[in-house]
């Protein structure tokens, strides 16, 4: 799960990290009001779940409250990488002497949380990693013992020379580690971590990604979810216990298991079609999941054919068949449905489908080819 910058800053502030907060506005008038209250220059920042906001024109400096209103007016409603800006953060503008990057990420290769810090901050750290990898200092943490004080001091000393700033940064790193663990994050970064001309160390921008598997035990973090920033169908899918990702093609796919779902999408492409979505109905599929899956897929006007590909293991194929029959009674489905199922209770499933007027296929390749042909209008 992604959270917004202003929410990430709240997590930092809760640990005591110095971070100029600002306030969130949803209208230009609010933006002006907040800027007036803060006094001085402000930065108007689009709150969307994507990087590269600055490059897209979603971050602007405003020197007066009136200018803050104008900038907010321009940014609100803006489209950044397919996401509409619904909120802007109005943050006090800071005088910056230096910019550093500090971040901690759950790293698959090290199988541990790994720190990445760089004195070259303020820019895209992936670019630094690609062009100047030697400018990034990495340090894995053994989570059984935690992030040790001397490690924080060591990393901080790679960023600053001034002993006061080193101590301040070491403290911030430890606080960030605590925020990372407490949020159940897979990534927590401050970019930039600045020094001011008077020597203070402060966090100016922050990003957290949350491990979805943590959410069941982190209700406070789950509460940070902003459903307005997600596609409505993906919200619906999550609530129904499905994994759904919309794509641009016209063959709707309903599959059990993520690997088989990806392989099915690939096969659609292989046979000349384009998948409309990734949809995994998961393991123990009750008929209701299938109904919800069909509801979600049929909201996409691009879908010209729907393909079921079910390999029954834990999933009972008769449950899927019942779901298909129920769903087609409940919702108007105006596109052809191709059903491939094999495995657990296959005979019962085929009988249920036959009684409702559906035929089922057993071969994955044949079913995919048929769905592609139907989507193209090349088959009846």
């Amino acid at each position: 799960m992604n959270i917004h910058e202003y929410q990430a800053k709240e997590l930092l502030a809760a640990q005591g990290i110095p971070v100029p907060m600002g306030e969130v506005a949803t209208t230009p008038e609010q933006a002006e009001e907040i800027a007036r209250r803060l006094g001085g220059a402000v930065v108007v920042k689009a709150q969307v779940h994507t990087g590269g906001r600055g490059k897209a024109g979603g971050v602007k400096l405003a020197t007066t409250p009136e200018e803050a209103r104008q900038k907010a007016e321009a940014i609100l409603g803006m489209d950044i990488k397919g996401l509409t800006v619904e909120k802007v953060l109005i943050a006090p503008a800071e005088d910056i002497a230096s910019e550093a990057y500090v971040g901690i990420i759950l790293d698959r290769a090290s199988k541990a949380p790994v720190w990445m810090v760089s004195a070259a901050g303020g820019v895209d750290i992936e670019e630094v990693a690609a062009t100047d990898p030697e400018k990034i200092v990495k340090l894995p943490v053994d989570p059984r013992y935690g992030f040790l004080p001397h490690q924080a001091y060591l990393l901080a000393s790679k960023l600053y020379q001034d002993p006061k700033q080193v101590r301040a940064a070491a403290k911030i790193l430890q606080q960030l580690y605590t925020a990372f663990i407490e949020a159940g994050a897979s990534l927590a970064e401050i970019n930039p971590l600045i020094t001011t001309p008077s020597g203070e160390v402060k966090a100016i921008d922050a990003k957290f990604n949350i491990d979805d598997n943590e959410l069941f035990r982190k209700p406070d973090v789950e509460a940070l979810r902003d459903e307005s920033s997600e596609a409505p169908t993906e919200v619906l899918a999550r609530e129904a216990g499905l994994t759904f990702i919309k794509l641009d093609g016209d063959v709707g796919c309903v599959v059990n298991g993520a690997g088989l779902a990806m392989a099915t999408m690939d096969l659609v492409k292989y046979y000349g079609g384009e998948p409309a979505n990734f949809l995994d109905i998961g393991g123990s599929s009750n008929p209701e999941k299938v109904v919800n899956a069909l509801k979600i897929i049929t909201t996409d006007p691009n879908v010209k054919a729907i393909l079921f590909n079910i390999f029954g293991g834990i999933t009972r194929t008769d449950d899927v068949a019942n779901g298909i029959v129920t769903a087609t009674k409940m919702i108007d489905i105006n596109v052809p449905i191709v059903i491939r199922l094999t495995g657990t209770n296959e005979e019962i499933a085929v009988r249920i489908l036959a009684e409702a007027g559906f035929s089922a296929m057993t071969d994955m390749d044949e079913a995919v080819q048929r769905a592609v042909a139907l989507a193209k209008g090349e088959a009846q």
Binding site: L106, R108, A109, K111, A112, P113, E126, D142, P143, R144, I181, G184, S186, D211, D212, N213, E214, F216, R217, T243, I245, L247, V255, N256, G257, A258, G259, L260, A261, M262, A263, M265, D266, L267, V268, K269, Y270, P275, F278, D280, G283, S284, F311, G312, G313, I314, T315, T342, G343, T344, M364, D365
Partner: protein, 289 residues
């Protein structure tokens, strides 16, 4: 022969009385797996299906019933502790089926289990099946038969698809292992490749990967350096858009690392035959046997 489990596997089921645990315990017993014990705290002294003793702790299951392998079907909130418990009890091989285990939990569980000298498979995996001998987990028993192919995969149902197609062509397996797609787990492709290389009955290896991370690339380099048996591969997710999590926590393309194209190239460069479709695995395997 086979890898990791065989007719000498003595299994304890952690979470035997739960919905999934009881269903799959029956399936495993039907297949011939020696299920010697179950564990559900508070239900010690009862029996499962009138024959399998239930204990309160894994330690008792080891001492009283001689369990050497465990399979875990408990909810995500309790999965980490179940793995710690199995390792503490001296279980040699721990298979965690549970999906949705927090990754931070795994950063602590993995080194703990390894330090105890145990092997961990999963979490979020379908388990494994040594054809005709034993199955631990949720892989359906009827989809494969004994034969010369060793299979290792990140996925569940995609594994079923491929071994079922192999069976349709008359080709069976030694062991099918589903390592799961989580970012941090117990057993890697490389662990399985090494075991298949050492297993005299395995004549060829199938490796099913997917987008995300660099496990497949590292495995490909390992194959070139250490594996003398022919290896055939498939990568799922060629049409997946970057930056989106495709169901498995690990299946996300970020930056340049982890695309299907990159993995397919790594396979080819290291002498691994690449199947374009799952179906093509059959011909490639036929060609090398």
């Amino acid at each position: 022969m086979s890898i990791f489990i065989d007719q000498n596997t003595r299994l304890v089921v952690q979470g035997i009385t739960g919905r999934d645990g009881s269903f799959h315990t029956r399936q495993m017993m039907e297949y011939g797996t020696k299920v010697v014990a179950g564990v559900t705290p508070g239900k010690g002294g009862q029996t499962f299906e009138g024959s399998v003793p239930i204990f309160n702790t894994v330690e008792e299951a080891v001492k009283e019933a001689g369990a050497n392998t465990s399979v875990i079907y408990v909810p995500p909130a309790f999965a980490a502790d179940a793995m710690f418990e199995a390792a503490d009890a001296g279980i040699e091989f721990i298979v965690c089926i549970t999906e949705g285990v927090p990754v931070l939990d795994m950063t602590r569980v993995r080194p703990y289990v390894l330090d105890k000298g145990a092997r961990l498979l999963g979490p979020n995996c379908p388990g494994l099946l040594s054809a005709g001998k034993s199955k631990v987990g949720i892989i359906p028993g009827h989809i494969t038969q004994p034969g010369p192919v060793g299979l290792v995969s990140k996925s569940g149902t995609l594994t079923y698809e491929v071994v079922y197609k192999l069976k349709g062509a008359g080709i069976g397996t030694t062991t099918c292992v589903g390592i799961g797609g989580d970012p941090i787990n117990g057993t890697s492709f490389i662990d399985c490749l090494a075991a298949f290389e050492a297993d005299p009955e395995t004549k060829a290896i199938v490796m099913l990967g997917e987008i995300g991370g660099t496990d497949e690339q590292e495995a490909a380099a390992y194959v070139k350096a250490n594996v003398t048996k022919p290896v055939v591969g498939f990568i799922a997710g060629q049409t997946a858009p970057p930056g989106r999590r495709m169901g498995h926590a690990g299946a996300i393309i970020s930056g340049s690392a982890g695309t299907a194209e990159e993995k397919i190239t790594a396979f080819r460069e290291n002498g691994i035959g690449v199947a374009q479709r799952p179906l093509d695995v059959v011909d490639l395997i036929r060609g090398v046997l």
